[in-house]
Symmetry: C2
Subunit: 199 residues, 2 copies
């Protein structure tokens, strides 16, 4: 039982967040009650602003309150190189590496006949349109290394190669820092297949 109905409501909402259980929700709620009021309200306002002001970039499909988005408007980003991903979260993962200076294209998912996701459900038409209007030289297919992602990459490569653009796939192999002994067979087979000569 809670001493305050509003505190209880806050905990109920926090518990809906991914990987937040009852105990974490209570801890988060008590934290929000303890910090200076303006800090708690800044979070409330940030959530509201993100949902009320942010839409999608019509070019790459990322979240943006402006169109094109900050990445597509950045003159430092290489317009010749486009990395195709399934979801916005994948873009954040690439941005964390700090080693990609091109631009992105978010498909919004991967082909999956079983789940009824067809090519027309993904932002493929938009990608082909970009090839017509932008000076793109290489498209990196960075869909997930699973069945749906591989199928999507294959489908896109067959569609894009005839259009005269260089199409590449991110390397699949043994992850850095891992132990070969515990690598699964598919990964290991891929790592062999994708081996590179020392130069």
């Amino acid at each position: 039982m809670y001493s305050s109905r509003f505190l209880e409501l806050l905990i109920e909402e926090l518990v809906r967040l991914p990987s937040v259980g009852q105990k974490s929700a209570q801890r988060l709620a008590l934290h929000l009650m303890r910090v200076p009021q303006e800090e708690a309200l800044r979070l409330a306002d940030a959530i509201r602003a993100a949902r009320e002001k942010v839409g999608f970039c019509s070019v790459c499909g990322l979240f943006s309150e402006e169109d094109p988005c900050l990445i597509d408007r950045d003159p430092q980003r290489d317009p010749l190189l486009v990395c195709v991903v399934e979801q916005p979260a994948d873009v954040l993962a690439f941005e964390r590496t700090g080693s990609f200076r091109g631009r992105y294209h978010v498909l919004g998912g991967a082909l999956s006949p079983l789940s009824g996701i067809q090519p027309e459900d993904l932002r493929i038409r938009e990608l082909i349109e970009r090839l017509r209007t932008e000076p793109i030289q290489e498209i990196i297919l960075a869909t997930n290394p699973n069945v749906a992602g591989e199928a999507t990459a294959l489908y896109l490569s067959r569609l894009l190669v005839p259009l005269g653009v260089k199409v590449t796939r991110i390397a699949r192999g043994v992850p850095m820092g891992s132990d070969l002994e515990y690598s699964d067979q598919v990964t290991l087979a891929r790592a062999l297949e994708g081996r590179r000569e020392f130069e």
Copy 2:
């Protein structure tokens, strides 16, 4: 780099939450962008309401938008029994057990001469006032089983026992489900000292 300034601000605020790192903050932010808008706004409103409408119960010191709080107004809660704790989070821990039907008193901390926390910084005067106005028969001292909490319990017992109320201390011993082999010496000594006869 983020495609949206508002998304970036949201992540910046989420990262201030306890045990939320950069990656979790991104995951939480993307979750909030994905759920139905009203769900995200409900969380924003819950945070705002909790901070703008909730104060403290003048009786027990817990968070409450009403005075007395929901627990103190609940006729089902035993008015003869008061559990004294350091913080509101401790109350939530006791409530989770579902095995305490009395009421609470939040001190707001524990005595700590080194941190400059004196008796007058805690809600001790309010506790003595409650003894005068409420039919309290037993006070359970449930401060933390550490140096400051033990010192606070001892201080309170010396203050309260002369007032003619029964004063008890929660049992300290080996935690349920633990392994004696790995118990620390102080805990084990306490467990021996607090042993009970089978009846």
